[in-house]
């Protein structure tokens, strides 16, 4: 484990050094990443110039959802989203390189395509979350702080798992990569708003199939002290870490099945 981490540090260290050579380009890319999600926050603020509340949530309560989802998503974006490049490696035949080296293929893929500029998104999400935490008007007990931090991590694991499952599908279906965007980028967008605004079918999918409701909505119910409109089971709002663990298991199984199914081009 320690040794694997050392390898990881070296690999991404090399990536960061090479990307940092073009400083102006790197800076503008980071700004671009920052803006990618910042426009959604601007849209959120514009929405609240027309209404005081959305499904009973105030602007800063929704901003809290936005920030929590943003931090979770961008952590996954920084460390795991590189699996999106899998189809390129499968088509180009370079996936075989990963299989003959003495580390896991998933680990190598994530290290090889690491891009520091994605941090721009994390900075944006973090700033909005910090701003929202100061403005939602709750008393910040240790429990609330811990639940916020733990759900950011759980959310990152959930998003990361969705990314890996989506990428694993590419072992069977080439060219379907854009569907995965519905669940990752789409999931990020969706979890910025309170669940009750969505239709009932979409809500069930989000609670039980692709459990994105546990990224921001359920933990936020606890942190902001809100009433749960769907269930009287109080423990649901603390389930995020368990759900994250379950998605991790599913992602692992999907990835392993994909790698087993993979047959090289044979040339």
């Amino acid at each position: 484990m320690v040794e694997t981490l050392a390898v990881y540090r070296r690999l991404i260290g090399a990536r960061i050094r090479s990307q940092y050579q073009y400083r102006a380009s790197f800076a503008l890319f980071s700004v671009g990443q920052f803006l990618t999600t910042f426009v959604d926050f601007l849209a959120l603020l514009v929405v609240f110039t027309h209404v005081r509340q959305l499904a009973g949530w105030s602007v800063w309560q929704v901003a809290f959802l936005y920030g929590l989802s943003g931090v979770a998503f961008s952590l996954a974006d920084v460390f795991v989203s590189q699996v999106e490049y899998l189809p390129d490696h499968v088509k180009g035949g370079t996936f075989d390189h990963f299989l003959v080296r003495p580390r896991g293929a998933l680990f190598q893929l994530c290290a090889e395509e690491f891009e520091l500029r994605r941090l721009g998104k994390l900075v944006e999400g973090g700033l909005v979350l910090a701003l929202a935490c100061g403005r939602v008007g709750v008393h910040w007990t240790a429990a609330r702080i811990i639940v916020t931090a733990v759900s950011a991590m759980s959310g990152a694991v959930i998003f990361g798992s969705v990314w890996v499952v989506g990428a694993a599908c590419n072992f069977w279906l080439i060219d379907a990569r854009e569907v995965v965007n519905s669940f990752t980028y789409g999931g990020n967008f969706l979890t910025q708003y309170p669940l009750p605004i969505y239709g009932v079918v979409l809500r069930r999918i989000l609670a039980f199939v692709v459990p994105l409701a546990f990224v921001s909505f359920f933990p936020a119910l606890y942190v902001l002290g809100k009433h749960d409109p769907f269930t009287s089971l109080g423990f649901v709002r603390f389930l995020s870490p368990l759900v994250a663990g379950a998605t991790l298991v599913v992602a692992r199984l999907a990835w392993n099945a994909g790698v087993r199914h993979y047959r090289s081009t044979g040339s």
């Binding site: 073009y22 102006a24 380009s25 790197f26 800076a27 503008l28 890319f29 700004v31 671009g32 990443q33 803006l35 990618t36 910042f38 426009v39 959604d40 601007l42 849209a43 514009v46 929405v47 110039t49 027309h50 209404v51 959305l54 499904a55 279906l173 080439i174 060219d175 379907a176 990569r177 854009e178 569907v179 965007n181 519905s182 789409g186 967008f189 969706l190 708003y193 605004i197 969505y198 239709g199 979409l202």
Partner: protein, 260 residues
């Protein structure tokens, strides 16, 4: 000649069927999420900026259909050829460089309008009650879309030409993409913006790409108003295409100096 080039652009993109279906699914999912947010707003306010909930929903699904035909997520075809050096052979061809790329882009846009533009609207119409465009507005809408493409192409042409001066244009291009998506009314209709922001958005060329054609589609510009709208778009298209030609001239001089 330009017709042949356009046909090539059309065919190049029509080869990826699975990717097209995947893309339609994604555009529709995003439209759904936006639709629910808008429904939640309009449940509390019946009218905002001349839009009712049906206008807003129609706007959302049609605007998702604009993303790919208008290449609103970025387009780097010329930049790639500059980076590899292949651009030299493009510049030597006995055709107008800007005209050649515009024809190619027109073919691409026509294919994507059919494959990626129409389906999200049909999906939306299955689940929500969308507004059909007034029949009288359809010819104006068609012209408005072509002018919108001209503005979109002219802006992309300019950013791509920047690659003759700076190594990596993708950073600045991405910044432009986000500004375009927001001020162009794709993230949220400009009609919902606060007054000053709306005035700013309407004073910029980005509104000509999607917002104005979409307003025509919704029948917001009847009669003479339609001609004014088209005139605004045409003015931006002409100005930006000419700017592209001017920059292209500078590129040619620069290359000649370097002995290329």
């Amino acid at each position: 000649m330009y017709w042949e080039v356009a046909k090539r652009g059309f065919r190049r993109y029509s080869t990826y069927r699975a990717a097209t279906v995947a893309g339609v699914v994604t555009n529709s999912v995003f439209a759904f999420i936006r639709a629910y947010i808008l429904i939640a707003i309009f449940r509390q306010r019946a009218h905002i900026g001349g839009f009712d909930v049906r206008d807003a929903l129609t706007y959302t699904f049609v605007s998702q259909g604009f993303l790919m035909p208008m290449a609103m997520f970025g387009w780097y075809d010329i930049e790639q050829r500059v980076r590899t050096g292949d651009i030299v052979s493009d510049l030597y061809r006995p055709v107008d460089f800007q005209g050649y790329w515009f024809a190619l882009d027109g073919g691409r846009a026509l294919y994507q309008a059919m494959a990626r533009g129409v389906p999200p609207v049909l999906v939306g119409a299955v689940f929500f009650s969308l507004r059909a465009p007034p029949v009288a507005a359809l010819p104006v809408f068609a012209v408005s879309c072509v002018l919108g493409l001209a503005v979109s192409f002219a802006l992309r042409f300019l950013t791509n030409l920047l690659s003759f001066w700076i190594i990596d244009v993708r950073g600045p291009a991405q910044v432009l993409v986000m500004v375009e998506l927001f001020l162009g009314g794709v993230v949220l209709p400009i009609a919902l913006f606060p007054r000053t922001l709306e005035v700013l958005a309407r004073a910029l060329p980005f509104a000509s790409i999607a917002q104005l054609p979409l307003e025509v589609y919704l029948g917001k510009h009847p009669g003479v108003d339609a001609l004014t709208t088209l005139a605004v778009q045409a003015a931006w298209a002409a100005a930006l295409l000419l700017a592209g030609r001017a920059v292209l001239g500078a590129v040619m001089r620069k290359l000649a100096v370097q002995g290329g």
